[in-house]
Symmetry: C2
Subunit: 418 residues, 2 copies
């Protein structure tokens, strides 16, 4: 039963909301120190998780996500340091004006309240989510994967030790590491939780979005496109496509479909095929396949089918389609895209502008890799996830996603006339 | 079946999103003209609704809300004029920065998409909601009360006529005036509707919030407080309390409970009792009752019970309680309040600041009537409702509530290093 946990998080949040930036930063600095001091016990706990996961047959990719080595722990501390350096997102007067009767109306940012995050095997998310929440004045309930439970417990202990030393609000975080019924409790906790962020695979996110009674921010799915125009710098296009596909194919901001406008296909495709041969499988429509000409040695080439346009491979696979016009590219993207990250490679200014205005996605790119859609890359220190919805927060979610606002109205006795 | 309507609204929204401010304003100006021209047919339609409602035994208060007389129609046109004068809320670069690698990241506002509003008898909401949505580049589905169906049809016809004349996007609004199953369809329209705003009584809002699968903005319930401190200007306090209670008791921003800190009760209560006698029923705790002394003639005085602290009377009734400290007032408000509008009357600067920071409400007032919580009063032209949730939009909702943002990232070939 999490009822007591919800209450404790709410009380802690009330106290945390009254802390100054200096107090919150000082506490976060002590958390950094405590994580450094607890490094050995964190790694020992992580090794238990890894051993158990290996025994349970976890894939190497997932095992890698679970791993906390020295470098990763240093990365966790760096990301707390970045969050400390960021300005306090609360108490900002976002706008303000004076009414004709002299009333001063100000829109002032404030913490959203109690957040919750349900995530999978990566234990670094535990610390990222906590540090963002704490800086934003929010308490947070952490529901990690059972496979990472020893790591998460060790991290949460270190965080709480740091908060204690730093005079912080120790109850501003809680780990929900009980049975699966706790997830149902979290989803139903109207009034207890102000925002719930599911972070992980498609299945997890779908299930949360469909069943939650609390406000949810949908994250994740990225069927991302790169659209190349004939007047683009073809070397630039090649570098962007390769980077967006190969640098981390399992990431949601990796490209899945390439659209090429004629006559660029006959320039680009042979070069691309040579570049990706042996690494990336191409699933080509008829025209892009023809444009390759004689396939280079080692190229894995298949015919694209309708399903390919809809698929987020998260793998070394790229679908390719030739389009006849800008509008056809736009139509394809708005039909098959998941509102995540979409890129155009072009030197046509009007098309760049039109692309940015008419593609419905959290992040629209001109002449850059889609792989930059990331809180860390954007300078947010860490991220809570990447929102693919339009409500409340969109794209990489940093501190701002954990704030709301109030209107502060200051008068000198004003009353409303009839 | 609304499926075709959802699709048409989505297509219209895509077109509307590409209109410039000048185009949208020009179309709205023609809508104003069309409403003026259609005045007689709108009033005739409204008279049918009124006659049927009267026959069905509708209360005078509700009949008044349903009424569209010349003055109200002029008011509707005025509020369109105000919306025209407001700046376009889309295309605003809310923030922007350049990364170390030269990528330019900009956060740009854009229309939220397709909105829907479910509301009760007031037909002026039809036009207010439409004009805000149109200006924000959103299409809107209007689900009014069946009692107002003739009025709403006449208004929607006039709006569409105006849009046609003005070269606007005629399909950017639709009226859902079919059977009750349409409401269920609206609640379930994930992907079809981007935000749903229920506007009306407690029962309507609760039912929508609990059953919707689409994002909802909760509006409405206002158990508002005024807290008076001993160093307040007592004449100011009296004027504010009277205004907040009497000027429109049925409004959600009317005050329901007065908290008075001793020794102010003995100053304030006899004056208040004299002022409200014959108009407002007082439900007093023991100490505030004693503070009145000998009740003035005509005073309707009752003993407050626990239930009074929780009740939004929406009537000429005021609960009164004496508190011993600022903290006790704060605790009472945060316990019984509905996060709507809360006021302090004081001359103590520290308490004013603390009140604004620690009361969890959409609008916090210092020395002013709670009745100002209103989009029109705030200068928003009209309002979609008053949000009492912290997610996405809070307080009076104008144009901003109908926007989201995208990140626009402009590069010159940047790729992400390993």
């Amino acid at each position: 039963m999490l009822e007591q946990v919800f209450r404790s998080l709410r009380q802690a949040q009330s106290r945390l909301a009254q802390e100054t930036r200096a107090q919150k930063d000082a506490a976060l600095r002590k958390v950094m120190e405590a994580i450094a001091q607890a490094q050995e016990s964190i790694r020992a706990a992580n090794e238990i998780d890894q051993a158990q996961a290996k025994q349970a047959g976890m894939s190497e990719a997932l095992l890698d996500r679970l791993r906390l080595d020295e470098k990763r722990i240093a990365g966790i501390r760096d990301s707390i340091a970045t969050v400390i350096d960021l300005p306090d997102p609360t108490g900002i007067v976002r706008s303000g004006w004076t009414l004709a009767n002299g009333l001063v109306v100000e829109q002032v940012t404030m913490p959203l309240g109690v957040a919750a995050i349900i995530y999978e095997s990566r234990p670094d998310v535990t610390v990222d989510a906590f540090s963002l929440a704490y800086k934003a004045g929010c308490s947070i309930l952490l529901r990690g994967a059972s496979s990472a439970v020893h790591s998460n417990r060790a991290l949460v202990k270190a965080i709480k030790d740091g908060l204690k030393t730093g005079g912080g609000v120790v109850d501003a975080l809680a780990l929900a590491d009980g049975g699966h019924d706790e997830v149902a409790e979290i989803l139903a906790a109207r009034g207890g939780i102000d925002v719930l962020i599911p972070r992980g695979g498609k299945h997890l996110i779908r299930s949360v979005v469909e069943n939650a009674k609390v406000p949810v921010i949908e994250t994740g799915a990225g069927n991302c496109h790169i659209y190349v125009e004939p007047d683009a710098d073809m070397q630039m296009a090649l570098a962007i496509i390769e980077n967006a596909k190969v640098q981390k194919p399992g990431a949601c901001n990796a490209v899945e479909t390439l659209l090429v406008k004629e006559p660029a296909a006959h320039l680009l495709m042979p070069l691309l095929a040579a570049r990706l041969a042996g690494t990336v499988e191409l699933r080509c429509d008829k025209r892009s396949k023809e444009a390759i000409g004689i396939p280079p040695e080692g190229l894995n080439l298949k015919d694209a089918v309708e399903e390919d346009w809809e698929t987020e491979y998260l793998d070394y696979i790229l679908a390719v389609k030739v389009v006849d016009s800008f509008d056809q590219a736009l139509e394809h993207i708005n039909r098959y895209g998941t509102h995540h990250s979409e890129a155009i490679v072009t030197n046509n200014l009007q098309h760049a502008q039109k692309f940015c205005q008419q593609v419905d996605a959290a992040c629209v790119y001109v002449n850059a890799s889609t792989r930059f859609t990331d809180g860390g890359q954007f300078g947010f220190g860490a991220e809570l996830g990447i929102s693919t919805q339009k409500f409340h927060a969109r794209g990489p979610m940093g501190l701002d996603a954990l704030t709301t606002y109030r209107f502060r109205i200051t008068g000198s006795g004003q009353t409303r006339p009839n």
